[in-house]
């Protein structure tokens, strides 16, 4: 069976929707665009497609190896496709959560979060260096269960296409039932925000229920509009600097590590961890913000 590539099929729609959103931002003032930021995001998407194709053999070899140890052999059926889609989204949730909480994975994923804008072009700001991380192990359970590689690749492509349209400020909220089950622009704005209350939240790909189940859901509030980007925003539009900055920072820390334990923690502890605790992790930022709020309004 020939499986189509959802992201390639959707590319014309991506372009049209970016243009539509740009017009909405310009004439209805819902959303913001900056030309150099847009250029960087789009070139990141372009480069990601190339590196993804160049290094796909690693994923294929890994999947083929793991599939040898499968529990059952799952053939094509609509039911299998639906189950595979849901389980792939669950795997995505844990990969995404780890990508924010493990410095090694963050060095790659930070590239997607590096824009201070939040629009459909941001969705295309994709990392180039996934092959340098162990991120593919999160999909191993799918192959161990017995889902074939083409099916997993297809449902993951559909997942990524879904995630494109939620990168927007042009849409406010959907009906409650939809916001309860599905990842939406509102939920994902929270995920891209650097406001202390929103840090490390809403890791979902398609179904926000994973965040509700695993305690990482935070709702967007009108009195704290999201500010986008990363803690310590980049001062460059150069895609190569966007790609490298996380890795340069990690390599510098590993080179200066005074013990194997420190080196391991630089790799596996949350971003911002340092041996002397002088830097800010998201947990520290949130704790400081909570303490400040308590001090400001002790009656709350």
């Amino acid at each position: 069976m020939h499986w189509p590539t959802p992201t390639e099929l959707a590319t014309p729609a991506f372009i049209v929707l970016v243009i539509v959103e740009m017009l909405v931002a310009r004439y209805l003032h819902r959303g913001e665009y900056e030309a150099r930021d847009t250029a960087t995001s789009l070139m990141m998407g372009f480069g990601s497609a190339i590196t993804g194709a160049l290094f796909a053999f690693i994923f294929i070899a890994f999947a083929g190896f793991v599939w040898k140890f499968r529990l059952i052999t799952i053939g094509w059926s609509w039911a299998a496709l639906v189950v595979c889609f849901v389980l792939d989204d669950l795997a995505y949730y844990w990969w995404h959560r780890a990508s924010h909480r493990v410095r090694w994975l963050w060095a790659d994923h930070v590239q997607h979060h590096s824009s201070q804008h939040y629009n459909l072009s941001t969705a295309l700001r994709q990392p180039w260096t996934g092959f340098l991380t162990p991120g593919l192990v999160f999909r191993a359970p799918l192959f161990l269960i017995g889902f074939p590689l083409p099916m997993v690749v297809f449902v993951h492509g559909v997942n990524l296409v879904y995630q494109f349209w939620i990168h927007t400020e042009a849409i406010d909220r959907f009906p409650r039932w939809f916001e309860t089950v599905m990842n939406t622009p509102s939920h994902h704005r929270v995920h891209h925000a650097v406001n202390a209350r929103y840090l490390d939240a809403n890791y979902a790909g398609v179904f926000i229920i994973w965040d509700r189940m695993f305690g990482s859901f935070v709702a967007e509030t009108k009195d704290d509009p999201p500010r986008y980007g990363i803690v310590g925003n980049l001062a460059s539009y150069n895609p190569l600097k966007v790609v490298l900055h996380g890795w340069v920072s990690l390599a510098g820390d590993l080179a200066s590590a005074r013990s194997p334990r420190d080196a391991a923690l630089y790799l596996f502890a949350p971003p911002g961890w340092s041996p002397d605790g002088s830097r800010d992790t998201s947990d520290k930022i949130k704790a400081r913000w909570a303490a400040f709020r308590t001090a400001q309004s002790p009656a709350e």
Binding site: G229, N233, Y237, S249
Partner: protein
């Protein structure tokens, strides 16, 4: 993926960026006053209150001090947004004043240098002395 797909993608990128420029123009960097910068910094750093500070003559770079502990923040316009760095020991590699121009060298991959033109040579020398303590 083939060459046609790649070429088409690049043309698409160029068209979208061109349309972005046409619709929104090019962002003009403007930081505003020290007080407004203080509000912006306080959004990221709870409890921050702007103390002394200076906005460069170009309106695109500023130094702002936290009233509570005298920490200095470098703020730089970046497109229609801004970037901010806490100038702590280990971040500042070097500082020099030359006439009105204060130059900073930072341990920062995307912001290795910053230049800020101040309104007087005395102000530049004053900030140089304050920031040199961090570089020592």
């Amino acid at each position: 993926m083939n060459l046609l797909y790649l070429a088409g993608s690049l043309i698409g990128v160029a068209m979208i960026v061109g349309l972005n420029l046409l619709l929104f123009g090019r962002a003009k960097p403007a930081l505003g006053s020290i007080q407004s910068l203080g509000v912006r910094i306080a959004a990221d750093i709870p409890g921050f209150r702007a103390g002394s500070g200076v906005v460069g003559n170009d309106g695109a770079t500023a130094l702002v001090t936290d009233d509570a502990d005298s920490t200095v923040f470098l703020v730089k316009a970046f497109g229609d947004r801004l970037v901010m760095r806490r100038l702590s020991r280990g971040v500042v590699r070097g500082v020099s004043a030359n006439g009105l121009m204060l130059s900073l060298r930072l341990k920062d991959f995307t912001l290795p240098k910053a230049r800020i033109a101040l309104e007087s040579e005395a102000a530049a020398r004053d900030w140089e002395a304050r920031l040199k303590r961090l570089a020592a």
